[in-house]
Symmetry: C2
Subunit: 204 residues, 2 copies
């Protein structure tokens, strides 16, 4: 009657998540063995697999959290009354990039991206891709908002522009996580430079 089962389950889930997060950050994703995670969580290897489909699935919990928060913070920003297209892009993209390393390391991002490309039919990839699309839509929404408010030319295809800007943001982020040397400031300024022509030309 206590829901003992559910209680234990929740507890174990918490312990496994904590152990994995800690080890991923500590020794890196690749070096964190399932056995180590299970040991640290006080369960067996088999139990780990009852809670998570596989090692990559573990990452999604964290990736998901990271991106959901990014989306939320982006949504509030879109409502602002931006006066300048380039500035608006920089603000939104800045929010994305600034938040990106809150829960995930570069290595964890690389692994997540790598998995989502390598196994596109896995639930992992599906979820990752869905998050990407929501981010892309958000950039499109920003462009549409600017157009409605008369800042962007009436004759531009907002989705086309939004998707192009987002794809560029994404690709540059891949380059960023591939190189431990690069920092967020450099990333931002490179993207701002790339955005400049488009931003200025679509401005009324």
């Amino acid at each position: 009657m206590t829901g003992l089962r559910a209680q234990k389950k929740a507890d174990k889930n918490r312990r496994i998540l904590a152990a994995a997060t800690s080890l991923f950050r500590d020794v890196g994703y690749d070096s964190a063995r399932i056995e180590d995670i299970a040991d640290m969580a006080g369960v067996s290897v088999g139990t780990f697999y009852n809670y998570y489909k596989n090692k990559g699935d573990m990452l999604m919990a964290t990736v998901s959290m990271e991106v959901e928060e990014v989306l939320t913070s982006g949504a509030t920003l879109i409502a602002h009354n931006h006066l300048d297209v380039g500035r608006a892009f920089a603000d939104l993209i800045g929010k994305y990039y600034d938040h990106s390393l809150t829960y995930l390391s570069k290595e964890m991002w690389r692994t997540a991206m790598s998995l989502s490309i390598a196994q596109p039919d896995s639930p992992f990839s599906k979820r990752y891709t869905a998050l990407d699309h929501r981010l892309s839509k958000q950039v499109c929404d920003l462009v549409r908002n600017l157009q409605t408010r008369g800042i962007v030319r009436k004759d531009v295809d907002c989705d086309a522009v939004g998707e192009m800007v987002f794809n560029n943001v994404n690709m540059m982020f891949i380059e960023f996580v591939k190189d431990e040397e690069l920092d967020i400031a450099g990333l931002k300024s490179a993207v701002a430079r790339q955005n400049a022509p488009l931003a200025s030309l679509i401005t009324v």
Copy 2:
């Protein structure tokens, strides 16, 4: 005195390459076991590893061939006297996409991309990234060429535009290889639509 050693080496290398290419295409990259490749080539597993650093390294031979040919065919196209920016983009990008599945399957592309992100310090990734940069430069060159010939506005940053267009091409290609349903015609038209605003606005 015959250079017997060198001769055998070249022969084995050829046999391993042929076996791997054939199996990757036939049963897919993941299902092709090193043991199978070695068997088909008539060598031992250990010998495979004397010739290729690892399984992913095998792919690079093919990826490299594919991209080198794409670069060559792109280079001749840049010299043409394009009159329309959108058309010029579509022609170059079309060449890239049309050639992309000559030697590689979508699965092989996914694996190659996935590896290049997951292990950025590996020789594999370095080579892959270098090829990507050359492609990006080629798009920049096209924009510069159009600007020199008075078709693109004098005040645009050709590299910024070129990089943005290429990054979008690349990201869309990732989406393409992630989904076995998508075809090249659809890919081309989606990218053309995304390019349209930028192409029209940078035109004199």
